[in-house]
């Protein structure tokens, strides 16, 4: 059963089409990711789902309730963690948590089970003002507050932006545990590597969804021949590969470059020879399977 259904919604601000005909459905208990850069429309979409914005056109339903007509009921049912830290900075950790529980007509004790794993990590600082917490702790407190009324749908807008790799990993471990308790989770992120942690992902860019599938399926749709090439100097490596006759795209990936060809008759030896003649040293060339980021960039070019 779907817990969120969105059909043909549009939202514009002046001349900017923030949401340009978006449709998708999220199943109950699913961990669903929106992957896309700033300005893609993720936040606008989430503000519509959380009943904070009204779409120009189209329909969005959360747990069978319409986001425009039934907004009051929906607000009881969802937890929302906005991209910007939005708790009361001059209240302490426990005051914030108690405040959100009270607003939703419940108590911390009643739903403590749901947040225990997360909250114990910040409990030693419960008397500290929220504004004085580190980034990772703020994130944990915000998640606790979004969960304290036991929502059936949790909506997280870039919870891991600007957060270091360790806190990011821990945050995703928390999401996995929450998912096991049956909560539907919709999460936005600009980090392509987090896509692999979702059940399904929507790749979003310029107000449009470019693709929706399980991450393992997304990479199968990559249409071209792709090679990874390494050499001693990345600057000449990239420049020389871009000159390679028939190359489609050339992008840096860590210490290597990925080069794609639309025609399928290029092989490793040809690339190695060409790059060798251009003076590149310590060459390593191998055919590879595309990753999510390759796919995302290919879809960006197409649209």
């Amino acid at each position: 059963m779907s817990s969120v259904i969105v059909e043909h919604i549009y939202k514009h601000f002046g001349k900017v089409k923030a949401i340009d005909d978006i449709s998708f459905a999220v199943e109950r208990g699913e961990l669903f990711g929106f992957i896309g850069p700033d300005g893609a429309g993720k936040t606008t979409l989430f503000r519509i789902l959380t009943t904070l914005l009204v779409p120009d056109k189209g329909m969005a339903v959360v747990n069978g309730l319409d986001v425009v007509k039934d907004y009051r009921k929906i607000r009881q049912d969802i937890g929302y963690m906005p991209g910007r830290f939005s708790l009361y900075t001059d209240l302490s950790v426990e005051e914030n948590l108690n405040f959100y529980a009270t607003v939703f007509g419940t108590t911390v004790a009643e739903n403590y089970d749901l947040i225990r794993d997360i909250y114990v990590q910040i409990e030693p600082f419960k008397k500290r003002k929220a504004g004085k917490l580190s980034g990772g702790m703020k994130q944990k407190l915000a998640l606790s507050c979004a969960l304290i009324h036991k929502p059936s749908v949790l909506i997280l807008d870039e919870p891991t932006t600007g957060v270091d790799a360790v806190s990011r990993l821990e945050f995703w471990e928390m999401l996995k545990r929450l998912k096991q308790s049956g909560i539907t989770i919709i999460v936005a992120t600009p980090y392509m590597d987090e896509a692999g942690l979702c059940d399904r992902v929507a790749l979003i860019q310029a107000g449009k969804i470019m693709a929706v599938s399980p991450p393992s399926e997304v990479i199968k749709t990559y249409p071209w021949q792709l090679f990874s090439v390494k050499a001693d100097d990345i600057f000449s490596l990239l420049n020389d590969l871009r000159q390679f006759p028939g190359s489609h795209t050339v992008y840096a990936f860590g210490q290597a470059a990925h080069i794609s060809f639309r025609e399928g008759d290029v092989n490793e030896a040809m690339i190695r020879e060409y790059m060798h003649d251009k003076g590149n040293k310590e060459l390593q060339v191998s055919p590879i399977q595309a990753n999510i980021e390759d796919c995302f960039m290919e879809l960006m070019i197409k649209t």
């Binding site: 896309g36 850069p37 700033d38 300005g39 893609a40 990590q121 580190s134 980034g135 990772g136 702790m137 932006t161 600007g162 957060v163 270091d164 790799a165 360790v166 806190s167 990993l169 821990e170 600009p190 980090y191 392509m192 590597d193 860019q205 100097d233 990345i234 600057f235 990239l238 992008y251 840096a252 990936f253 860590g254 210490q255 980021e293 995302f296 960039m297 960006m300 070019i301």
Partner: protein, 248 residues
Amino acid sequence: MYNPNAENIIVVKDLVKKFGSFVANDHLSFEVKKGEIFGFLGANGAGKTTAIKILCGLSYPTSGKLNVGGFDIYREREKIKKNIGYMSQKFSLYDDLTVFENIRFYAGIYGLRRKVIEERARDLMEKLDMKEARDMLIRGIPLGWKQKLAFSVAIIHNPKIVFLDEPTGGVDPITRRQFWDMIFEASYRGITVFVTTHYMDEAEYCDRVSIMVDGKIAALDTPENLKKDYAAGSMNEVFLQLARVKVN
């Protein structure tokens, strides 16, 4: 590009910075070679920003010997400021000035002459493919353009070193790579690049990477060697092994 025989452009010896009883930088020692791309990584709160402020001449260390671009950090701070560029996500361009006004402002601060400024501005907008945006307010242009422009003005005076503090947050993967193309080019021209980032794939673009944990440098080497030493497939794994030990 990293060349172990190149001259040292940054030399840090036993850098200590204390705030009260809190030790933000705990005896840091490292050298950066001329023209290299040096990645300065660490978890939130590890002490990166504190160290960068000192290297830029914005804050004094508690103790330690530091030389940046050939100048002493205690006695020649003004000379250091003239010979470095700085860009961060938070502070870069003026929203209510146009693209051209921002270029003119920064170039003016660095003492470039009016004629040179006009020339560089023209070249720059050509190179960035932003000619139509010349008279647009910064507020109205896409984030990716802002970042590329911010980097370009940070090196408009041809500094010896450019410091980039989390420069690429939030942009799409193609724009992020175009940004790194600009970094590679600057490095190729001999500008030393000192960069912090939370994107671990970007750590692999660096010639060498240092990883700070709790105010100390826990590791410093080429990405290749670090991956070997920690038996890791990626810099992300290296980072997690080092930084995860001590969290919260």
